[in-house]
């Protein structure tokens, strides 16, 4: 009995060690674009999207509901971005750590862009938005040249030349869409990610620029949505007074 217990303990310890040493599954989901579809299906609805007046090749939606609009929320949960493979991409050839690096970079960029205007929280609740995002159309690129490889290089590059992003803010409790945008850009043939530390390497600058650009656009959108209307300016001017006594002239 005692021997059996010891043997079982060894087995359990070995199992724990194996589990601990195995690579953790990426927190960033991976999906594939369906053939012939305009959108990935990631957003909760596409019915509200209309071509943007300000940004080319972008369709967007902003809720004008007086009760459920972006002004009525004060904090946000940033969900890990989901990566959608191009329809004909070879999933097995896509380096997992490269995909993770890509998604991590995008998550970091959008978090940094929004966090001082919409503080980041972890739990859903009233006044909290959920920011969902997806990188659409990621493809497998060429093998990385052997002479350029180091520990951080990927075996195969990730081609992001034709990626787009789909982003939406939803009510964290009900899932109702509050704002959404789908943006496509042709970043060109050179838009590749060939290293997990791509953001620090000049040759992959097109990728960082693209993700930074999308993050900035997201913040610009929030800023423009929060600009005071003419009526709001008048009302604010008329009612907003400090509590301390104003100075009196000498």
């Amino acid at each position: 009995m005692c021997h059996r217990t010891t043997r079982f303990s060894y087995l359990a310890a070995a199992l724990v060690t194996v589990l601990a040493c195995s690579r953790p599954a990426s927190q960033f989901g991976l999906k594939r674009m369906s053939a012939g579809q305009e959108f990935s299906g990631f957003l909760s609805t596409y019915a509200n999207l209309k071509p943007s007046q300000e940004v080319e090749s972008t369709v967007s939606y902003v809720s004008q509901d007086p009760i459920k609009n972006v002004h009525k929320y004060v904090a946000v949960i940033v969900e890990p971005p989901v990566v959608y493979l191009a329809t004909d991409a070879d999933e097995k050839a896509l380096p997992d750590r490269g995909r993770t690096a890509l998604a991590e970079y995008f998550q970091h960029a959008i978090t940094e862009a929004v966090e001082d205007a919409f503080p980041i929280v972890q739990a859903s609740g009233p006044l909290v938005l959920r920011l969902r995002s997806a990188i659409i159309g990621v493809d497998v690129g060429p093998a990385m040249p052997a002479d350029q490889k180091d520990g951080k290089s990927l075996d195969r590059a990730i081609n992001i030349g034709k990626v787009g992003v789909e982003i939406e803010f939803v009510d964290s409790e009900t899932g109702q869409q509050i704002a959404a945008a789908v943006d496509r850009q042709n970043l060109g043939e050179n838009a590749m990610v060939g290293s997990v530390s791509f953001s620090r390497e000049e040759q992959f600058r097109a990728a960082t620029q693209a993700f930074d650009g999308w993050a900035k656009r997201l913040r610009d959108f929030l800023d423009s949505a929060h600009q005071l209307s003419k009526d709001d300016v008048a009302r604010t001017e008329a009612t907003n007074f400090p509590y301390a006594s104003p100075p009196t002239p000498k």
Binding site: G125, L127, T248
Partner: protein, 283 residues
């Protein structure tokens, strides 16, 4: 080593180098609430604010007369009944932490503070009088009012003393704290800006109170909520609701108070709503 250190410590202790230094200074006993709202001259409306909010449960604090520094105290009981009065305080002050360990607090009169003493600054409304101040005040007010991310859950106020501006209030967004500082700092005529704006925690209970309070007020007093703003500000901190802003009638102020008192999870409501046209009465 230890034997060498011990005599050194014994020598240092009586000299007060290891123990905290005891300061004696003149102060105004305020509530945390009013100190953050009304830094500046001690006017009758401020005294009324201090007394009523301490009575309602706001933490009593002392405000250093020399520099407007708000200090929380360890023995609140010692000063609770002195709200709205001037005191001479002795205790171990930690300016960086904004705290003082009270030893004593004795009531003094304004007359006992000598003319020319820097401690008179807060007592003398003339400190807050300069030729350009009224214009500058309006400019600061305008710039702060136009900040885009101000919601019904933020209240940014300020006190102006000549070319010095003290920003006060509460916000749920850190961008408001930095934006307020930057816009005021850039106004021609402003020389120094002290940023006392408190960034509020976003705990889930406070968030639920915010949402419930706004919903309750919008149901009953919808005319004060417009476009993307509101005349009523709902500041929520650790379960306490502070109502600020302006309403048309005393009845509306009372309705707001009653509505917020019925919000689940809120354990205290401070009604500091001003009633239009009755500011002078200290409403």
């Amino acid at each position: 080593m230890t034997t060498r250190l011990l005599p050194a410590l014994a020598l240092l202790l009586p000299a007060g180098l290891l123990a905290g230094e005891i300061s004696v200074f003149r102060a105004y006993v305020d509530s945390d609430l009013c100190a953050r709202l009304m830094l500046g001259p001690i006017t009758p409306s401020r005294i009324q604010c201090s007394q009523s909010t301490v009575k309602e449960g706001s933490e009593p604090v002392v405000v250093h007369l020399r520099n407007n520094l708000v200090l929380t105290v360890n023995k609140q009981k010692m000063i609770r009944d002195l709200a709205g009065q001037l005191v001479e305080v002795s205790g171990e002050m930690k300016a960086k932490n904004g705290t003082v360990k009270l030893q004593s607090a004795n009531v003094i009169t304004a007359e006992s503070v000598p003319q020319g003493d820097p401690a008179r600054k807060l007592l003398d409304v003339r400190t807050y009088r300069t030729d350009k101040s009224a214009q500058l005040h309006e400019k600061i007010r305008h710039e702060l009012a136009m900040m885009p991310y101000i919601s019904e859950f933020d209240f940014i106020s300020f006190t102006q003393s000549g070319v010095d501006v003290i920003l006060t209030g509460w916000t749920i967004r850190s961008t408001n704290r930095s934006t307020a500082y930057n816009v005021v700092k850039d106004i021609p005529g402003v020389e120094t800006v002290i940023n006392n704006i408190d960034v509020l925690p976003l705990g889930s209970l406070d968030m639920q109170i915010r949402a419930a309070a706004r919903a309750a007020l919008q149901r009953q007093l919808s005319r004060y909520f417009w476009g993307n703003g509101s005349d009523i500000k709902i500041v929520v901190k650790n379960g306490q609701i502070i109502l600020l802003g302006t309403v048309s009638t005393k009845a509306d102020s009372d309705i707001a108070f009653i509505q917020c008192n019925s919000v689940s999870g809120a354990f205290k409501v401070f009604n500091l709503l001003r009633v239009q046209g009755s500011e002078k009465k200290g409403a």
